[in-house]
């Protein structure tokens, strides 16, 4: 291994009793990367984060920080800091003392300490609140104190455990933006745990999708959304339609899949003729047309739901399966009602559909 990663995990396993929390996970996190661990609750994302922080010791496997093994090192001897889910601010200390806590433990001399605390508070725009206690602050302000307290130590890696979960939607959007720009400015890696798929897609350089202790897929947001590897990833991130079919033929990077009476081209290979497969297509990638065309899927509009900027159609395929289709409301919404019950053809670009493995 030539490249030194900020964090490298090698075959990390962790069990709690009989429950496997993290199952043989290997993951490298690059310098100044914003990486998100995404998954449903209980998928092991928080356990993984806690092992990097040092609050849990893996049963087996190794964790390296900046090329040095830290697997069994206690939290206070690791160059990472954490922003906790409920912030975990010290209630008996004021804002200044909270932020200064880590610097004091590191024996930073007083004038340097004052300067660094002031700098950190300025960074999160909390100047003037130094003497407030945490319970005198709003949720957003507490969040910023937690951030300042962790970042003032200039860690190699910042761990964030669902830090935005307790904030209301508007504040959350704002904090998402601030966190992202902060990370770019500081140039350190952020490891961000969330169960919010939208948050993961908008903020991350790379997304790690976890399920039941396993890494399902690791990739940039576009990859995760456009080319999910498994039904789980497709289903967890965004809406998806899964259609069953049989492979008719497969060439270099295009396979023809037979679905009821139609034959649909799908990007992807590694399958053999005659094999049953599942095809994933996102609702917004499907085009509906009222012209009867040969060789494409046919169906009938079963229902419509008006979503403001778009309309969500449910289309009953001739084979009996119900698909969801999302269409931007470019035309007037008046015609919507009249379309229910109409026969439609469904089509999409070959590279919009994904062959699912597993």
């Amino acid at each position: 291994m030539d490249e030194v990663y900020d964090v490298a995990m090698q075959n990390v396993c962790k069990k709690f009793g009989d429950t496997v929390a993290v199952n043989n996970v290997s993951l490298d996190i690059r310098v100044d990367e914003f990486i998100t661990l995404l998954g449903p609750s209980g998928c092991g994302k928080t356990t993984l984060l806690r092992m990097i922080a040092g609050f849990e010791i893996p049963d087996s496997g190794k964790i390296l920080l900046d090329g040095v093994e830290v697997t069994r090192l206690p939290p206070y001897r690791r160059d990472v800091t954490t922003v906790f889910q409920q912030y975990a601010l010290f209630p008996h200390l004021n804002v200044f003392q909270n932020v200064a806590f880590g610097l004091e433990r590191r024996g930073v001399e007083r004038s340097a300490l004052n300067k660094r605390v002031a700098g950190a508070l300025e960074m999160v725009r909390l100047e003037g609140l130094e003497t407030r206690r945490p319970n005198e602050l709003s949720g957003g302000q507490q969040q910023r104190v937690a951030l300042a307290r962790a970042l003032v130590l200039e860690p190699k890696v910042l761990l964030l455990d669902e830090p935005l979960a307790a904030l209301d939607l508007k504040l959350r959007k704002q904090m998402q933006y601030e966190l992202k720009s902060l990370q770019k400015r500081l140039g350190i890696s952020f490891i961000f745990v969330t169960h919010d798929q939208e948050e993961a897609l908008t903020m991350s350089d790379r997304v790690v999708v976890m399920n039941a202790g396993n890494l399902e897929q690791v990739g940039v947001p576009q990859e995760i959304y456009e080319r999910p590897h498994s039904e789980f990833v497709a289903g967890f991130i965004g809406d998806s339609n899964i259609i069953e079919g049989t492979v008719e033929s497969s060439s270099a990077d295009l396979s023809l899949i037979k679905i009821s009476h139609a034959t649909i081209p799908v990007q992807g290979n590694g399958v053999q003729a005659g094999q049953p497969v599942r095809v994933m297509i996102r609702p917004e990638k499907i085009r509906l047309s009222s012209h009867d065309r040969q060789g494409v899927l046919q169906g009938r509009i079963a229902s419509a739901m008006y979503l403001g900027e778009a309309t969500q159609w449910k289309v009953m395929l001739d084979g009996g399966q119900l698909l969801t289709v999302l269409e931007q409301n470019t035309a007037s919404a008046q015609a919507m009602k009249t379309r229910v019950g109409q026969a439609v053809s469904l089509s999409w670009e070959a590279d919009s559909a994904v062959l699912l493995r597993g």
């Binding site: 922080a53 939290p75 990472v80 906790f84 601010l89 008996h92 806590f101 433990r105 962790a150 130590l153």
Partner: protein, 286 residues
């Protein structure tokens, strides 16, 4: 809209009536009597003569009694200190380390002594501590000592009995404070570079201070007024204020006993004021 609420508030006022009645007749009234009696004198055959005088207070400040005050304060301080030293690790273990299903069992074990009268438990200590008692017999039998150790009828015995009796009143409030402690805060401290020692000093200890203060008040004040333990376990020289007061009332010198009681009450009030100044909240004593 406002009327029903007002009515409900009025009804609620009646709920405190029994408690108020109790306080007035069984605490305030006796206290007033004690204040009056403390300025009286003892007549022939123990009769109380109501002639206003400060002489009881003057006598209470006599060197003879002052030494009893100091002894009392000293033993109460030692009792409280030992209780803190013993209780904190126990409360810490129950609140933060014990497996969940053990917690309740350990807490029940902590309060189980209350099921037996304090007097009987003190007699049990006599059986343990006296020269031919359980401890001395065992030590003699094992050959570790050849003479029985003087375990009973001294200050050591008083301390053992007092610490034993007051321990639950220290363990429980500290336990409650530690139980409320958010363990994420301990992780946060370690995350920021504090090792176990500094995490304890900077986070655990300050955040358990309300419980610690409550425990200190709950142990120190009864220790000041203790009279069963010194009476049964202490020696002839180990007299405490509690015994002194008891003796005065037993010898029908009620005026002097009252004056001693009031001085003790004033001392306790003073200590409570200090404790509240130090940040104790009334709700934490409950």
């Amino acid at each position: 809209m406002k009327e029903p609420q007002k009515n409900r508030a009025k009804t609620a006022n009646w709920l405190v009536a029994p408690g108020l009645f109790w306080l007035l007749f069984f605490i305030v009234a006796p206290l007033v009597i004690v204040v009056i009696v403390s300025f009286a004198t003892r007549g022939a055959y123990g009769k109380t003569l109501y002639d206003f005088t400060w002489s009881n207070y003057a006598r209470a400040l006599d060197a003879l009694y002052l030494s009893a005050y100091w002894r009392t304060i000293w033993i109460a301080l030692l009792t409280t200190t030992l209780c803190v030293v013993v209780s904190f690790p126990v409360a810490y273990y129950i609140a933060l380390r014990a497996p969940e299903r053990w917690k309740r069992i350990l807490l029940v074990l902590t309060v189980i002594p209350f099921w037996t009268s304090f007097l009987i438990r003190t007699y049990a200590w006599m059986l343990l501590l006296r020269s031919e008692g359980v401890i001395n017999s065992a030590l003699l039998h094992s050959g570790l000592i050849h003479e029985p150790l003087p375990l009973l009828y001294n200050d050591f015995a008083i301390l053992v009995g007092q610490v034993y009796g007051e321990l639950p009143f220290m363990i429980l409030p500290i336990y409650v404070a530690l139980e409320r402690l958010n363990t994420r805060l301990l992780e946060a401290a370690q995350d920021l570079g504090a090792n176990r020692f500094w995490t304890f000093v900077k986070i655990t200890l300050p955040l358990s201070r309300p419980g610690l203060l409550a425990g200190i008040v709950l142990v120190f004040i009864p220790s000041l007024g203790a009279f069963i333990t010194p009476d049964l376990l202490g020696g002839a020289k180990s007299i405490m204020i509690g015994n002194l007061i008891q003796n005065q009332f037993a010898q029908l010198n009620q005026p002097f006993g009252s004056a001693l009681s009031l001085l003790l009450t004033l001392a306790v009030l003073l200590l409570l004021v200090i404790a509240f100044r130090a940040g104790l909240k009334a709700s934490e004593l409950a």
